[in-house]
């Protein structure tokens, strides 16, 4: 039990450190929020002024914007560790490797959650979608989606952080793995916005939750190998 507490303390210390550096440097927040706003606007232009068409496409646009921006965000969070050999120092601390993964993923989750909620609000305003009436299932969907993107992103950002071509490699590696999450999140969002007429919302949320658990367990089990040279 004390080992679990020690790992939880380690994870929280890493997440707090990431949050502090993020608040100071605003590496992830500013770039990702700006990027997601641009993505939404461009999708809006591409689909034209038909409001019914925009509202129908809103769940897909929401999650595409969140996923694209999320890739940027997790990459920025891992770039903190490239400060003057910080990743190497992090690997030298006598702490469980899975606690390091949990800390980085927790920091990523916090950023993704804020990002997801802001983008959800922006979608509601830009595409005239009533998100207030379905706030609870939408909130659950965003929480589960943010956790999944953080879990996958933390692992693959660890894979690519030492690569020169990391900005190219990270989306190439992440996007195929995120396909089930994207599908489930879009379907859950669409079901929530439509009032769940076919009773499918629960199944999609379960799929999202299962995806999160699998990715978190796999990431925690294997992240330590990424820290070794």
């Amino acid at each position: 039990m004390s080992a679990v507490r020690a790992e939880a303390r380690t994870a929280l210390a890493i997440a707090r450190k990431d949050a502090l550096a993020e608040l100071r440097g605003r590496h992830a927040a500013v770039t990702t929020l700006f990027f997601s706003a641009v993505v939404l606007l461009l999708f809006g232009f591409a689909l034209g002024p038909d409001s019914a068409r925009l509202a129908a496409a809103a769940p897909g646009l929401l999650w595409l914007a969140v996923v694209f921006s999320g890739i940027l965000a997790v990459n920025r969070l891992h770039l903190l560790e490239t400060d003057d050999g910080a990743l190497e120092q992090l690997a030298l601390y006598p702490v469980a490797r899975r606690a390091i993964y949990a800390g980085k993923a927790l920091g990523g989750f916090a950023v993704m959650l804020v990002l997801g909620l802001v983008v959800l609000g922006a979608v509601g305003v830009l595409f005239a979608v009533d998100i207030a009436s379905a706030w609870l299932p939408l909130l659950i969907t965003v929480v589960l989606g943010a956790a999944g993107i953080a879990a996958v992103g933390t692992f693959y950002a660890g894979v690519t952080v030492r690569l020169r071509a990391r900005e190219v490699m990270l989306p190439l590696l992440m996007l195929p793995v995120l396909a089930p999450l994207l599908l489930a999140a879009v379907k859950a969002t669409a079901a929530a916005l439509a009032g769940d007429p076919f009773g499918e919302l629960g199944a999609w949320l379960q799929l999202l939750a299962a995806f999160d658990v699998i990715m978190l367990v796999a990431g925690a089990a294997t992240y330590g190998y990424l820290l070794e040279d």
Binding site: D83, G85, L90, L92, E228
Partner: protein, 256 residues
């Protein structure tokens, strides 16, 4: 020898003559892209000794320190730190080893105090806040504690990285060019640290070119050339010739 007031975290180390060697390597080798940076090093460093790693650039000093710190894994051979096999007991070795590399491993957007507070949390340092303040004072950065590391000079960063080591409780300290980038005051701090670690029974293995400055602080020397031990001298240190078959001959300049 100068007296020190630097606080070194106590670890129950026991009498040096009753402890296992701090370092024992057998044919330790590391290849980079097929070329050996370290080509079969067998050394032994007794507990509570301060030993210098000497040799020209590319001799393998940094590679040896990085291997012993667990940052990289050996390609061949074995290493035992404090009686613990490096590859089989990596987590336990990390509790006993502190490493100062060329990179300081600091976060630019955090202040000096926040950087050390994070390190204290990672080491599980008891009474962390007081220890962080003490470490900042010991490395002469207490007046810059609230400043972001981004604005620090290379020497100040080096001092802060040395302060980070004071938050752990290592039995073996590995230092790669600890005097580099430091001013006179900073170099005096390194001298004091070496004395403090000696008094606490902590072994130190350091790579440095400051041989004159180090002379009164050392127990022994290991000279590396082209990835191999060229000479050993002093007390508490020994070596054996390499016995590894099949390791390619080291190049004159090897990747590190």
């Amino acid at each position: 020898m100068p007296q020190t007031t630097i606080y070194v975290s106590p670890r129950s180390l026991g009498a040096p003559d009753r402890r296992p060697p701090s370092v024992r390597t057998t044919d330790l080798a590391r290849l980079f892209a097929g070329s050996p940076a370290l080509a079969g090093v067998s050394i032994q460093v007794e507990a509570a000794r301060t030993i210098a790693l000497l040799g020209p650039n590319g001799a393998g000093k940094t590679t040896l320190l990085r291997l012993l710190s667990t940052v990289i894994r050996p390609s061949y051979g074995s290493a035992v730190v404090d009686g613990l096999d490096l590859t089989r007991n990596t987590d336990l070795v990390r509790e006993r080893v502190a490493y100062l590399s060329h990179d300081t491993g600091l976060y630019d957007d955090l202040t000096a105090r926040e950087n050390l507070a994070f390190a204290a949390a990672m080491y599980g340092t008891p009474d962390g806040t007081a220890r962080v303040d003490r470490a900042l004072r010991d490395v002469g950065l207490d007046d810059r504690a609230a400043d972001r590391v981004r604005d620090f000079s290379a020497g100040m960063r080096k001092r802060l990285a040395l302060g980070r080591i004071l938050l752990g409780s290592p039995s073996l300290v590995l230092l790669d060019e600890p005097y580099a980038a430091l001013d006179t005051e900073g170099m005096a701090i390194v001298d004091e640290l070496l004395v403090a670690w000696r008094e606490a029974g902590v072994s130190v293995l350091l790579a440095s070119h400051a041989t004159d400055r180090l002379a009164p602080l050392l127990d022994g020397r290991i000279v590396l050339e082209r990835g191999l031990v060229a000479a050993v001298s002093g007390e508490g240190v020994g070596s054996a010739p390499p016995s590894l078959p099949g390791v390619p001959a080291p190049a004159a300049e090897v990747a590190r």
